[in-house]
Amino acid sequence: MEAVALPVPGVVEVPQTGPVVSAQALTRRYGEGETAVDALGGVSLDVTRGRLTAVMGPSGSGKSTLMHILAGLDKPTSGEVTIAGTSIGELNDTNLTKLRREHIGFIFQFFNLLPMLTARENVVLPLSIAGEKPDQAWVAELMKRIGLESRSTHRPSELSGGQQQRVAIGRALISRPTIVFADEPTGNLDSKTSGEILELLRSSVDTYKQTTVMVTHDPRAAAIADRVLFLADGLIVRDLGRSDAHEVISVMEELAQ
């Protein structure tokens, strides 16, 4: 339906090895003068292909800011972000839009589904926006994976919170993006439902090799990740491999002191 007019050099070629997303010396300052706040104080990282990376940290640590900048939603004060080989700092709105269509999926804390669309319509929305025909087999498989094949014609208001977040995950995966960003995906759910959502995220990484970055302050969420980055005061202070919830909690407590 909509073709973004300008060609984006480099966006199309996705390197098959190495990091999908990388950041160099990111800083982010809000405000000016004496009231200025440094949310990020110089962060560099590479997101590994096919893995689930969790970004942990207490409120105000800068973890949300980091994710917003990595996803191209916010601009860094200094530093550079490369997504799938493209440096996004220079992209204009049109090219950023195209980049999002092809390479990025989002999962939000408050689901952000369109209330007037059915579950299935919400899932395929990114494709209809991009003007692409959904692959029916893939849609069917996704609907089955998120466990909503029997509720595909329900609207969000007829679904529970967990079910709505499943729809949101389906929507993030539908275009097989290079990377999925999940912003506190369990932040608005009870613990049992949270567990189910985390399982779904984990399985999507395992099954589809879906590179995923998840921002969370829930140690149980961090525990399903392949790698856990800890942020405090705008800096990465710890970079762990797979850790269980206890390890995560103890690192958090350690950092809190």
Partner: protein, 855 residues
């Protein structure tokens, strides 16, 4: 994406409906205007079409010039001898002469049978001659024969319960004459010609009645087979005297239809003007409603952006919604227009304007214009909110309470607002005071000036909201407790929203105030003029106050005991200095009944007019460089030229005078105008105004039911009533714009309530009662409405001051009708309360628990 936009509309039914209503109403006014005027045109056209049935050529009297805005016009009759000559032409199959004049029918109550704004038609039908030419068809009885018989139209017979054999009166020049009804006729296929009455006589009777013995008003001619109407016309033309002309029936019909069309065209333009105004207000309402809706959908747009929508897609989806809303609303408006046409008809008949009835015409043009205009206005009004929606950044999807970013250009906002206001005012001043402008330029400057002024005021209104709300909301905040205080704060918390909502209301109120002030000015200067000029005790006018009436009344009144002076003022068309105008004629005793300030000449001017004297007013003398003794050539409709000399120049009061551009003596007038009629007779009587004198004068006019005796103050009041009727029509037409703006208030409040769900839940949770919630919303509505009212009244007063300044030469003074304005303020408060009903109910019914969990 298309699906998303359309499903979104369905998902927000109430909001969509509220947005659409403004356009529905505006479009209905446009479509209603077309339906009404098309229907009227069609009815008149079919009447005209019927008029020349079976004729190929039509001979009629020739006017020296045509004066469109005159009641006394009418081609003079021509010598009947023409008919014999025409009949001798070898190509003529048949020809018949007719009389067509006007005469009022008198009902059983002795009063004139009202024709509203139709005419009291009087025609001849000669049954001994050729009946094929008459458009009238007998529905019962016989055609009248002889001086005591009449046939009348079926509508009058039906509504006034007359039947063949009854007797009915007719207001003839010499007084009421009675006729026996021998027949009841229909006109063509319809039972009537609008609200006109039709009186039918045989030819000699009609000629005698209308002082046209040996004359005809028209001759209809049928050609023999194979002769074209054009050929017939060219054969007839050499036979005609200079006072007659001939046309093919088709050309004559077209001419009459064109006359009708141009008259209705003006009426149509005026009504369309009100429709455009309504749409203009509708555009404000839509733009505002959409801005609010879009502000509430920030997260939705941001989410769409994060999952890959481009700005253009967002723009397109909002515009698509607008397109659908505009289309549906225009369609609804189109059909509602059928109802509006009926409403307008009712409005006009309530003030005495009766249109002919006919089949409703629903033309393709009505459909096309309504939809194009409705959709166009919706799209234009939606453009700004839609562009705002494209500015929603994707990051708003993850931020709590995200708001619309301000535009890069917003810092120019204040400058643009003030410039817009200035441009509007400048255009208005230019349109009003600019010299040497054509009427069209002036109207365009005034129209655009006013619209731009409205936009300018609304752009600046944002800054006036806080101070206005704190003053206007004071009573509520003071006496209304917490609900009142919160209401005032709510009205102030989003000044642009309140300003936009109030601005729509401002437009309607500004125009209503403007009309009210101008009306008051007219009334007051007219009243002053009457007080100043009118030294007579009584005045006689036609029943309806403005028709000319027979001059025989003068003699009848003069016979009443105690009458010391009777001054009949005659009027007629004339062409003076190359312009069509109205002239008047006065008797020598005028000084006894009218007090005139003479700037040149003395009180004795009227008595010295003689055969060739004339007087004019000061401005006319100045414009045409006239001095005492200057010659003035007055051409009558029958092409006679009267050579008059100026004998006096008077200084009329601001409110005008009863005199035409040139005034001559009654003697001169009567000698040169075929049918002299009065439009006013002034009377002095011994003892002045008393009940006995009134009764006596009334009795003296017994034979003239069309003439009405009035005291000076009754005369003033009757004329003022006409102004009031006009005002009421204008109020009615402007009312639609006000209603649309009230829907704007409803929209804003419903949307605000929706937005503040959680807050209202919290207020309820901490102990606010449902009643308090309702009161809070109601107060906010009243404050918003009052802001609109205050702005509107201020703008209206400003416009009126400008206009009266410009028109001060025309005699309109600035008179502010405080009582009327107080009524407007009270009306505004009531309107605010009315607009709050639905939103207040929704707010008070919120479930506290759900409202608190609402996200």
């Amino acid at each position: 994406m298309i699906g998303v936009a359309l499903k979104g509309l369905l998902g927000r039914k109430l909001r969509t409906l509220l947005t659409a209503l403004a356009i529905v109403l505006g479009v209905s006014m446009i479509s209603g205007t077309y339906v009404l005027t098309d229907t009227i045109t069609k009815s008149y056209t079919s009447i005209v079409d019927d008029s020349f049935v079976n004729s190929d050529a039509v001979i009629s009297g020739k006017v020296a010039y045509k004066n469109n805005n005159s009641d006394t016009a009418g081609a003079p009759a021509f010598p009947a001898a023409v008919l014999a000559k025409v009949k001798q032409l070898p190509d003529v199959a048949a020809a018949a002469g007719t009389i067509a004049d006007q005469a009022k029918l008198i009902g059983r109550d002795g009063k004139v049978i009202s024709t509203a704004d139709g005419s009291p038609i009087a025609v001849s039908v000669d049954r001994r001659n050729d009946l094929r030419f008459t458009p009238l068809k007998l529905s019962s009885g016989q055609w009248p024969v002889g001086s005591r018989q009449i046939a009348i139209d079926k509508r009058t017979a039906d509504t006034k319960h007359y039947a063949v054999g009854d007797t009915i009166g007719l207001a003839a020049d010499e007084g009421v004459r009675r006729f026996r009804i021998t027949g009841v006729a229909t006109f063509g296929s319809s039972s009537s010609v609008g609200a006109s009455t039709i009186a039918v006589f045989d030819l000699p009777t009609a000629q005698h009645l209308f002082n046209k013995v040996g004359k005809f008003d028209g001759i209809q001619v049928a050609a023999k087979n194979g002769v074209t109407p054009e050929k017939l016309v060219s054969e007839i033309r050499p036979l005609l005297p200079p006072t007659a002309k001939v046309k093919t029936a088709e050309a004559q019909t077209k001419e009459s239809v064109d006359d009708v069309k141009s008259a209705i065209g003006i009426f149509q333009k005026v009504l369309l003007g009100f429709g455009i105004l309504a749409l203009f207000v509708g555009a404000f309402v839509i733009a505002n409603t959409l801005s609010i809706t879009i502000a509430q959908r920030v997260r939705e747009f941001a989410t769409l952006r994060t999952i890959g929508s481009s700005r253009r897609q967002v723009l397109r989806s909002v515009m698509l919604e607008a397109l659908v809303v505009g289309l549906v609303a225009s369609l609804l408006g189109l059909f509602l227009g059928l109802g509006i046409a009926k409403g307008l008809n009712a409005l006009f008949s309530a003030v005495g304007v009766q249109f002919p009835k006919g089949d409703t015409v629903f033309a393709a043009r009505t459909i096309i214009v309504s939809i194009v205009v409705g959709v166009g206005v919706t799209l234009v009004a939606s453009l700004r909110p839609a562009i705002k929606a494209t500015r929603v950044p994707p990051i708003a999807a993850v931020r709590e309470g995200a708001t619309l970013p301000v535009s890069r250009l917003s810092r120019f906002g204040p400058i643009v607002s003030i410039l817009t206001l200035a441009v509007g005012i400048l255009l208005l001043v230019y349109g009003i005071f600019g010299s040497g402008l054509t009427i069209a330029t002036r109207l365009v400057a005034l129209g655009f000036g006013t619209l731009i002024l409205f936009v300018g005021v609304s752009l600046n209104a944002k800054r006036a909201v806080r101070p206005l709300a704190s003053v206007l909301g004071w009573p509520g905040a003071h006496f209304g407790g917490t609900a009142g205080t919160l209401a005032r704060e709510n009205a102030m918390r989003n000044p642009s929203r309140t300003a936009a909502t109030a601005s729509a209301l401002m437009i309607g109120l500004a125009l209503i105030t403007f009309v009210a002030i101008l009306g008051a000015g007219l009334r007051s200067s007219f009243g002053d003029a009457v007080n100043k000029l009118f030294v007579a005790d009584y005045a006689v006018t036609a029943e309806n106050g403005f028709d000319p009436f027979t001059s025989h009344t003068d003699a009848a009144v003069a016979k009443a005991a105690g009458v010391t002076a009777v001054s009949g003022i005659r009027g007629g068309d004339a062409r003076v200095f190359g312009k069509n105008t109205q002239v008047t004629a006065v008797p020598p005793n005028l000084a006894k009944t009218v007090r005139i300030d003479w700037s040149k000449g003395s009180v004795s001017v009227p008595s010295q007019l003689g055969r060739d004297g004339a007087f004019v007013d000061k401005d006319y003398a100045k414009d045409h460089h006239l001095l005492i003794g200057s010659p003035i050539a007055v051409e009558t409709p029958t092409a006679k030229v009267l050579h008059l000399r100026l004998k006096g120049i008077f200084d009329p009061p601001k409110g005008g005078s009863p005199f035409g551009t040139v005034t001559m003596s009654t003697a001169t007038f009567d000698a040169n105008y075929p049918k002299p009629r009065n439009f006013m007779t002034l009377i002095n009587i011994r003892g002045g105004v008393t009940d006995a004198n009134t009764a006596r004068l009334d009795a003296s006019l017994g034979a003239f039911p069309d003439a009405k005796i009035q005291t000076a103050s009754q005369f003033k009041k009757n004329q003022e009533n006409d102004i009031n009727l006009t005002l009421n029509v204008l109020y009615g037409l402007l009312g639609l714009s006000v209603i649309i703006s009230l829907f704007g208030v409803v929209n804003t409040l419903v949307l605000s309530v929706f937005e503040r769900t959680r807050e209202i839940g919290m207020l309820r949770a901490v102990g606010m009662t449902r009643r308090d919630v309702r009161r809070m919303i109601r107060h906010e509505s009243i404050v918003t409405a009052l802001i609109g009212g205050a702005l509107g009244i201020a703008v209206g007063v400003f416009l009126a001051v400008l206009t009266t300044q410009a028109l001060s030469d025309e005699g309109i003074v600035l008179a502010i009708p405080w009582r009327t304005i107080a009524v407007f303020v009270i009306g505004t408060i009531l309107a605010g309360m009315l607009a709050a009903v639905l939103p207040a109910r929704r707010a008070s019914r919120l479930n506290v628990l759900e409202a608190l969990q609402y996200e």
